[in-house]
Each structure stands twice: as C-alpha cells, then as structure tokens.
C-alpha cells in the first residue's frame, strides 16, 4: 500500500542552529505535499506546501525541498527557536483524491 514515512522520529537541535526534517513518500504520483506542525494539545498547523512541478519553495525561515527522483521531502528551519519545538508531519495528496496521507511525525526539540 502507499505510505508516507519519516526517517527520524526525534531530532534535538541547539537554539539558533538550522534543522532539517526528512520525509519519504512512496506514491510517486502524489502531486501536492504539505508540512504541518503540531504542538501539544493542538491541531496540525500548516507550515508550507509544495506542488510536484516544483523542487523548492521558501517561506519565512522555512524551506521545503522536493526530490521526486528519490521520493523525498525535507523541511529546513533556519535559526531554530524554542517555539519551533513540536511534532512535524509531512503529508501528501495522491492525484484525484483530496484527503491527506500523513506520516507518523518527527518530534523536534530545541535546546536553549
């Protein structure tokens, strides 16, 4: 079956360093990808998205990279702050469908 997964379940970084969270997806036909941030007790919060016709997209302090050749998605957070501590999920949308398929999540811990 199709799945979305994450390479690292936990990631600890020093405040001010850059963070990279990785995700592998298995449906090569997926055409839309989103990174969500989930803080404890809250719903997923949109961070950034990218469509399959792009390989890079930048937001404020965040960059998403898409490598369709190896079906890999990454989220880069520049100058990581304590407020970035959360669980990060990647999600994909297979073509023709609207529901998101989520990965299990990576917990990012920022060490002050």
């Amino acid at each position: 079956g199709e799945s979305v997964g994450l390479h690292l379940p936990t990631l600890s970084v020093q405040e001010g360093d850059n963070s990279i969270i990785n995700c592998a997806y298995s449906n090569s036909a997926s055409d839309y990808f989103i990174w969500y941030k989930q803080e404890s007790g809250k719903g997923p919060q949109f961070i950034i998205d990218i469509r399959s016709n792009m390989d890079k997209r930048q937001g404020q302090r965040v960059t998403v990279l898409l490598n369709k050749t190896v079906k890999h998605l990454s989220l880069q957070i520049a100058a990581t702050q304590p407020g970035d501590s959360a669980v990060y999920f990647c999600a994909e949308t297979p073509p023709g469908n609207t529901p998101l398929v989520f990965g299990k999540g990576t917990r990012l811990s920022v060490i002050a």
Binding site: Y32, K42, G43, Q45, T93, T98, P99, K104
Partner: protein, 113 residues
Amino acid sequence: EPEVTQTPSHQVTQMGQEVILRCVPISNHLYFYWYRQILGQKVEFLVSFYNNEISEKSEIFDDQFSVERPDGSNFTLKIRSTKLEDSAMYFCATATSRGNEQFFGPGTRLTVL
C-alpha cells in the same frame, strides 16, 4: 485570522453511547474533512464532505460513523455506538477547494470508557 473551531474540546463517554462532535468551518470554505489521531500515532483520514454529501471515506469510516451539515454552518461527526478503540483526537479540517491547503481545528479529545 479566521479559524476552524471544534466543540467540545474533550468528550468522555461510556462504551456503546452515541457522541456527536462539532466543527464550525471557516466561512468561505466548501470542503470539509474529519481526521483522527490515536495517541502517539499519525493523523488518519476518515471522511471528506462536499456539496452536502460524502465525497470520500476511508475504511475506518464504517457504519457506526456519519457526518452531516445540519444547519449550513456546523459540520458534525456522529459515532453511533462508541467502542474503546474510538478513543482518539478527532480533527476537523476545511479548505476552499479540492487540493488546496486544509486548515485544521484544535481537535476534540474523545475518551471512551
């Protein structure tokens, strides 16, 4: 900034009881979704709803589940006879159109005893 709201924030119920979870979508959104997240696990799709009917549903969404938009604003998820394994966070999400960003509500924590 507009946001999706959900009530209640926490629902405790006895096994076999019916529960109704409520969501108020962002006003100009037309696509509605329910997801659930069992503690420590990933978010899983349940059902999508558009134009007053279900457009897609997962294998989790069996006959015990139903959705409706009774008054044009609230979007509800009903579980007719709750089971212990229904204990989870239930998230409502809404979007302006298919394939666009889905905005999530804060969730309802359902605890079935």
